[in-house]
Amino acid sequence: MSSDPAPLLRCRQITKRFGALVANDAIDFDVRAGEVHAIVGENGAGKSTFMNVLYGVLQSDAGVIERDGLPIRFANCAEAIRAGIGMVFQHYLLVERFSVAENVMLNRERTRSGFVDREADEGIVADIAARYRFNLDPRAAVETLGVGARQQVELLKVLEREPQIVILDEPTASLSPFEIDGLFDVVRRLRSQGRGVIFITHKLKEVMAIADRVTVLRRGKVVGRVQTHATNESELAAMMVGRAHVAADDSRPQTPARNVVLRATGVTVKSDSGRSAISELSLVLRSGEVVGVAGVEGNGQTELVEALYGLRPCDAGSIALSDADVTSAPTTERRRRGLRYIAADRQREGLVLDFDAVENMLLGDQRLGTNAVALNLAQGQRRADEVASVFDIARYDRKAAMRTYSGGTQQKFLVGREANDETRVVIAFAPTRGVDIGAAQAIYRRLRDLQTRGAGILLFSYDLDEIRALADRILVMSGGRIAGELSLEAADDTTLGRLMGGSAA
């Protein structure tokens, strides 16, 4: 490998912390001329943080970036751009009312005697657009364009500066298959021009189709780097979600599974965009068991959870808690029947960060008491005190805003509230994501207690470690269906990867 020229960009030991969380942990990475290097990982794996470091949005706490073999530091994006790096963000940054040319040339307008030379700008943009075979009218207003065309405008903004390195952050997230093909043509063209392309995604099919090399990030670390021709989707999926390295749980209760506490039959649900997200999905959860739902993000997990919890209407099928049909019951009614939900996004869904611990402990249960008027602050206080002592929460103060606690402590409060004596079924969505090991163990213990008392736990996670640590059996979701069910023993990486990749069981 010594004959290789220096890579266009090389990072050594990049580390970025946010408080106690290490978002990027000693990441080594490089991209060479004429190469497409994909970075894959689940949400929260640290991909975007890393990109923001590369693009100068964030500054790393440790580590070195080298450009053509020379060390360099970016204090801001402008410096990264000057160093020949261009980035297309996942969320487009366009001025709706401006034309394509105005957006592309924004802040770089050609001028003639102090006035913007619109025709010159339009000419430049038309030239680059033609070079990449974009079918774009430079004079069209961005607000009239579709998603694919908007992305081309974003690409033009970057390409107009002739960057040597192009970063594409989840570029296919909202594109149709046809538009994805068009994007891939552009990426191939960039590669043939000798530029380096960094392609961030969590869609493995695309990685296999377009990338030369893949780096897999997980929990802020590089867990694998492979040539695409030497790997396959299943192997990548297994790498992404991790191998079981957490010590096997010693106290797995051996309660025989009993009566059904949650049953979904033929549930069909649409996503926000009106497309079918889940089709005819059925599952059964029994008292005293933990069922893990594995799968790559975006395969209908969120929609399923919302349907089960009463936030998204079912177009077909039925949902029952114990023996009661709750298909069209509101969330409060389902909670009354013992359904609880450990929300995926604790800060926006599960907690109100400006409220104190006491008020947060009443969230969702506010109408379950006997008093229909007064807020039962005494109950909130009892529960907050109980959670604080069971979870051993440091610097506990009833009146302190939830915002003032660390993310791990916030999660303890959330789990403590949702997993209690009244819980018969709990849907736990990535309950230990982003928390430290100590907090994760305390959360596992709480869920185990719940299981021992006969509640059913439906555990959704993108992290196989988490599922393996808790689940008795594993359902794999793919494309809005259950692709297969595995016992814990049968759930090896290959099988799981194959099911998550969309192959039938």
Binding site: T331, Q366, A374
Partner: protein
């Protein structure tokens, strides 16, 4: 109430004071004399204090209405219109009904509250049903209220030959001064009781709790099983009812009849009072009295120091500017501090901000 919040409410006042001195200097008057006259006129004697409280009464009701909406994340610019509708309803009830005072007064207040509530509910329904921004609809409904009331008192409801006004309310509906030679009536202590009730309701009842959850996070509200459209409508009705009480207190306590010009912009000053109070109903008492004092002292300032009383409008405007840039500014009052999505969108937010 924490000391920090009190300080945050008082801090801007000091800033405004400094700015006011500069404004007075520009008007070529002696700032000490002018401010002295202002303070003397608003707090210098029992009568002037009483008059200050009288001037604060309508403002306080309206400010409570605005504050309640703020707490639910709703920006009710329509307190002015709701107040006008409430005043008209109270005036009509007060002129039409002939009941004993113990019934007449509460019924007139209830009529005012009901009128304001229905008018507020209209904006709430438009938002809940069609997603129409309450900022736009309440601004527009202000014109509907003002011009509609103008038409009614000029035509169907005209009760006076000399001016476009309703008939005078019956004596049983009138509130009488509790300090002689002033316009201070029982409406002011009533407003304070209402403020305390609103404070209690927000903090200690399930309905108030749900309203506050919605104000902090609509998603959290949905996940807590709250029917968001219902809370929006309920909140706007309550907000309008409080403003409507203000209109009723103006008619019953001060004017004894309705004309469409009765409000000198109470509903808008109320927004400033609510913002300055950080939407806290108890602090709103203080901020409403502050603005009431400014209005009341302005006349003395004009008479004694020769500073035009319209300068007070400039000072009120300064307070609003100050509040807008303060941490209790509109963004904070409505949505909490801005988040930096660009940096943290891939990472759990807590870890990124701790």
């Amino acid at each position: 109430m924490k000391a920090g919040r009190v300080l945050a409410a008082v801090g801007p006042l000091v800033g405004v004071l400094v700015a006011s001195v500069l404004v007075i200097l520009v008007a070529k008057a002696n700032p000490m004399a002018a401010l002295g006259a202002l303070v003397q006129g608003s707090f210098g004697s029992v009568q002037s204090v009483a008059e200050t409280f009288a001037q604060s009464t309508v403002l306080l009701f309206a400010a409570l209405g605005v504050a309640v909406a703020f707490r639910a994340g709703l920006f009710n610019i329509g307190a002015e219109g709701q107040l006008v509708v409430g005043a008209l309803c109270a005036a009509v009830a007060g002129a039409a009904l002939h009941l004993p005072k113990a019934l007449e007064v509460p019924i007139c207040f209830a009529a005012g509250a009901l009128g304001g509530a229905v008018f507020g509910l209209l904006a709430g329904w438009l938002k809940a049903r069609f997603g129409a921004s309450e900022v736009i609809t309440t601004i527009m409904l202000n014109y509907v209220a003002y011009l509609g009331a103008n038409y009614l008192v000029a035509g169907p409801l005209r009760g006076s030959v000399s001016a476009p006004e309703t008939a005078q309310i019956v004596p049983a509906a009138m509130l009488h001064p509790i300090v002689p030679l002033t316009r201070l009536t029982a409406a002011f202590p009533f407003a304070i009781v209402v403020a305390a009730c609103v404070w209690w309701w927000l903090g200690r009842t399930i309905a108030g709790y749900e309203l506050r959850i919605l104000g902090r996070s609509e998603r959290a509200a949905r996940y807590a099983g709250i029917h968001v459209p219902a809370v929006i409508m309920r909140t706007m009705a309550l907000s309008g009812a409080l403003a409507g009480l203000g209109g009723a207190s103006d008619v019953l306590g001060m004017l004894h009849r309705f004309n469409a010009e009765l409000s000198p912009g109470y509903g808008f000053t109320a927004i400033a009072a609510a913002l300055l109070a950080g939407s806290n109903p108890l602090l709103a008492i203080i901020t409403s009295v502050f603005f009431g004092a400014l209005q009341n002292g302005a006349l003395s300032m004009q008479a004694i120091a020769g500073v035009p009383k319209d300068l007070i409008s400039v000072i009120v405007g300064l307070v609003i500017v100050y509040v807008a840039i303060n941490r209790f500014g509109m963004r904070a009052a409505l949505h909490g501090p801005p988040s930096d999505d660009l940096v943290t969108r891939d990472e759990p937010l807590a870890e990124a901000t701790t």
